[in-house]
């Protein structure tokens, strides 16, 4: 049996109230909210966060490959999956590959993993832009999902078995974006709708037939894709019970592009019971359908941080700040020199520290060194260190400050001295926080972020953020 062993969805902390768009522009926007990646996030960092959540819920699993799919890659030419691989501290033998460019690549990577072999960590991530006031800006969202796909086994109990799927491919230019452009364009809606709806229906039927299922036997149906009108029309024509249709997160998160089928699937898995059939339908340049059935192992699986909790624990972002973060508005930068590009050899030498947040612990004194040091600050022992992985260790704020002068892509810098549980201190930048709200004694956790970019090189490292109010590992009610 092959299927999904674990999953994790990541929704960034910030929300744009769609009504705020009209507040500034006079029109546009709409109802509800969309998720917004922080200025220090990109598809790579969001992918890392989703993957960390999925792996934390499957402690026994060991991926043999990592597939990363996005339509908004942080790099071209250079593989983005390798930074995810480094942040997760996967062994060098684990291959890391990008599925890039198209909105279809996310569902495609998941389908290929389900149909293939080995233990594959599929990470889907996307960040959706649009021109100010436009539909894509409001309807889009940012987020990521990670799905761990494997053969059923002692270290990797499959909680959602793959029942098969179907695919349909059709060449028509409905939604497109030239390389380098921030905005997508699309053809008038009716044409796409008349293509997608029958394609979706016939592909759905074919998948069900091959799996020996009927529409009535499907407990949860997910329909995603950037053609919202087609999604809606198709959902009404699949022949499933209305209550089987899953929330597509349009009102809260928005359409997260290549990540969306994974994100909604993660949310559905988190609220599923054993023995439920889930159909995932994605419309993009054709149609993709994947069928899953939750297994008895689903009852033993607990999401690390449910998507619903992340949707609930959010903070609004002013529309002006949103535009600045998306590069649609250029605010006055701090009058400080911009950072220089990261040195590739220096970053490579420090891979475990920079990407994995691994310090060193002196075996004799126990003193934790961040960054790792060869000589101990306590007792002076030389080369008596062992690795001290700190990425998943929480800490407490000892003191903090706000730096209004230092360079930051979004000033001011909020900075805290953090004492980690079990030892170790690190003075670190805070993120996903209101500057004035940071207090001594606050609990924080580490998150993988992009500090800045210079000469096109992204500086990835870790920051601290408040531990969400819901707290770490809370078991979602699966009944």
């Amino acid at each position: 049996m092959r299927g999904i062993v674990s999953s994790g969805g990541y929704v960034p902390y910030r929300r744009l109230q769609r009504s705020a768009v009209a507040g500034l522009l006079g029109s546009g926007g709409g109802k509800g909210t969309r998720s917004v990646a922080s200025h220090d996030e990109d598809t790579t960092t969001m992918g890392v966060e989703a993957a960390r959540l999925a792996l934390r819920s499957a402690p026994g699993a060991a991926p043999t490959s990592l597939w990363f799919a996005t339509a908004s890659p942080a790099y071209l030419d250079k593989t983005n999956a390798t930074a995810v691989h480094a942040a997760l501290r996967l062994p060098g033998e684990v291959s890391a590959l990008d599925f890039g460019g198209a909105l279809r690549s996310g569902i495609g990577a998941l389908g290929a993993a389900l149909a293939g072999g080995g233990t594959t960590l599929v990470v889907l991530s996307d960040q959706r832009d649009g021109l100010p006031g436009g539909g894509d800006e409001s309807a889009g969202g940012d987020g990521a999902a990670a799905l761990l796909v494997a053969e059923d086994g002692p270290g990797s109990p499959v909680m959602a078995e793959y029942l098969g799927g179907a695919s349909a491919t059709d060449e028509f230019v409905d939604r497109w974006r030239a390389p380098g452009d921030r905005r997508s364009k699309s053809w008038e809606e009716r044409f796409g709708e008349t293509r997608y709806v029958p394609l979706g229906r016939s592909t759905f039927d074919r998948a069900l037939k091959d799996a020996g299922l009927t529409p009535e036997g499907v407990d949860r149906v997910i329909v995603t894709g950037m053609h919202l009108r087609a999604n809606k029309a198709l959902a009404g024509k699949l022949g499933v019970a209305p209550e089987a249709l899953a929330d597509d997160l349009a009102a809260t998160v928005g359409q997260t592009g290549a990540a969306h089928p994974g994100l909604v699937l993660a949310a559905v898995l988190e609220t599923s019971r054993p023995g439920q059939v889930i159909a995932l339908v994605h419309l993009a340049d054709g149609a993709e359908v994947l069928l899953l059935r939750t297994t008895p192992a689903r009852a033993d699986w607990e999401p690390t941080r449910p998507v619903a909790d992340q949707i609930a624990a959010a903070a609004d972002l002013p529309y002006g700040k949103f535009l600045a973060w998306r590069g649609m508005l250029t605010p006055e930068p701090p009058r400080r020199p911009e950072p220089q590009r990261v040195s590739t050899p220096a970053a490579w030498r420090a891979e475990d520290w920079k990407y994995g947040f691994v310090g060193s612990r002196d075996r004799s004194s126990g003193a934790v060194h961040l960054p790792p040091s060869r000589v101990s600050m306590e007792g002076g022992a030389v080369d008596e260190m062992e690795p001290a992985p700190m990425a998943d260790v929480q800490g407490t704020i000892v003191t903090s400050t706000i730096d209004r002068l230092a360079y930051s892509p979004s000033p001011p810098i909020v900075f805290a001295v953090v004492d980690f549980d079990g030892g170790g201190r690190f003075p670190v930048e805070m993120t996903d926080v209101e500057a004035e709200a940071v207090a001594i004694g606050d609990r924080v956790e580490m998150t993988f972020r992009r500090l800045y970019s210079a000469d096109g090189i992204h500086d990835y490292f870790w920051k601290a953020r408040p531990v969400p109010a819901a707290g770490p590992p809370t078991a979602e009610e699966t009944g």
């Binding site: 400080r336 040195s343 230092a406 930051s408 900075f415 001295v417 030892g423 201190r425 003075p427």
Partner: protein
């Protein structure tokens, strides 16, 4: 092994200092030439009569050539020195040791910095290629963490502490207003300090040192030769230096209410100089008031006040110009300005003026004490270098 110092073996026999400020019309070379000319004249020597040179600059130039070229020094041993904001003090330390060793008869230490050409606010470190994980905070932010930590530890409420810090700023501006070489020659009120725009944490613009261009220099000779150059030499009683390991940043025991590097350097300097009660033995002190909380904590690190009491002493005026122990009678970094490589030598310059009775009358301290202290630090809490010296007018 041990730190023995060179007490009374070397004397300062000439000093010079440019005005500090925004010298848009003067280059680094101009500042060097001016400070050097004043200093040569002060000691009554020519550049040829100086046997060796140490040149302190944090980032305005590289190599001894940066000094040798503007002064047209012909094949002299000229060495560039850099050690964060203690760069100027380090130039003097090197020159003094060179004379004490017998290697040279006459040595000059000159510190200079052209900060204002950068076009940016504050000080900016020279970029070294790295892995992108180093902190990019300003020094202001790092030092701003001292104030709340101090308040919490000693039960001082926030408003009271703000008043203490404002008092430091007001004092240093009061002193600087009486110093023709100072960058900011204007008294400020507590209200002005308290209302100034925030830079980092609770620190406002008036809690931060001025950033300036400037240069300062000293000529040192063996103590026994001193009177050949001046009737009123300053004898070097102590030169002490401590570089921290940087572990304060990652040591959970560090609480941001003291600077261990400064305590160590002070202890060593007092031992070298034979000082047992600095508050009662020193005529004055020049300390590194890069930010107001720095001066607060230094009063305790340097032994001028008991732990947890400096804030009361500051409010009581202990360190004012007419107080028991005047601190920064020249206005300090706060109002004299901070051209990084020159600041350490500028501190000696004030000792030179005050102990010889040559400060402008409105800030000349009156005392029968003969010793003065300079304290110069670089870096920030947890990762710091610290220098402490004692000079005096009486040998032995």
């Amino acid at each position: 092994m041990g730190s023995h110092g060179i007490r009374d073996r070397v004397a300062i026999v000439g000093m010079g200092c440019t005005a500090f400020g925004e010298h848009w019309d003067r280059s680094l070379d101009d500042l060097i030439v001016d400070a050097a000319a004043d200093t040569f004249a002060s000691a009554g020597v020519t550049k040829e009569e100086v046997d060796a040179y140490w040149f302190g600059t944090a980032q305005s130039g590289m190599s001894g050539i940066t000094l040798a070229r503007p002064l047209q020094l012909e094949n002299k041993p000229v060495t560039r020195v850099e050690n964060y904001c203690t760069t100027g003090s380090e130039a003097l330390r090197a020159a003094a040791y060179a004379v004490a060793s017998g290697a040279y008869d006459v040595a000059m230490a000159l510190g200079a910095e052209k900060v204002k050409d950068s076009g940016y606010q504050g000080l900016n470190a020279f970029p070294v290629p790295g892995d992108g994980t180093a902190r990019t905070l300003t020094a202001a932010a790092m030092f701003s963490m001292v104030a709340p930590a101090y308040a919490r530890k000693y039960g001082v409420d926030e408003e009271q502490l703000a008043e203490v810090l404002a008092t430091i700023s007001v004092k240093n501006h009061f002193n600087g207003a009486r110093n023709p070489r100072a960058q900011f020659r204007k008294e400020v009120s507590k209200e002005t300090v308290l209302r100034s725009p925030r830079v980092a944490g609770t620190l406002g613009v008036f809690d931060c040192a001025g950033v300036a261009d400037g240069a300062a220099a000293a000529i040192v000779v063996r103590a026994e030769d001193a009177h050949r150059y001046t009737d009123k030499p300053l004898y070097i009683k102590a030169l002490s230096f401590a570089a921290g390991s940087g572990s304060g940043l990652i040591d959970p025991d560090y609480d941001y209410t003291h600077f261990p590097e400064c305590e160590v350097a002070a202890r060593d300097a007092y031992a070298q100089a034979g000082i047992t009660d600095p508050r009662r033995q020193l005529a004055m002190a020049e300390v590194h008031d890069c930010f107001t909380p720095t001066e607060l904590v230094l009063m305790e690190d340097l032994g001028f006040a008991e732990r947890g009491t400096a804030w009361k002493e500051i409010l009581a005026g202990t360190f004012a110009l007419d107080g028991e122990l005047p601190v920064n009678p020249d206005g300090g970094l706060k109002s004299f300005g901070h051209p990084v490589g020159a600041s350490g030598l500028r501190m000696f310059y004030e000792c030179w003026l005050q102990l010889r009775g040559e400060a402008t009358p409105e800030r000349q301290i009156s005392t029968d004490r003969t010793l003065a202290l300079t304290h110069n630090l670089g870096g920030y809490p947890g990762e710091m270098v610290s220098f402490v010296s004692v000079v005096g007018t009486e040998p032995g």
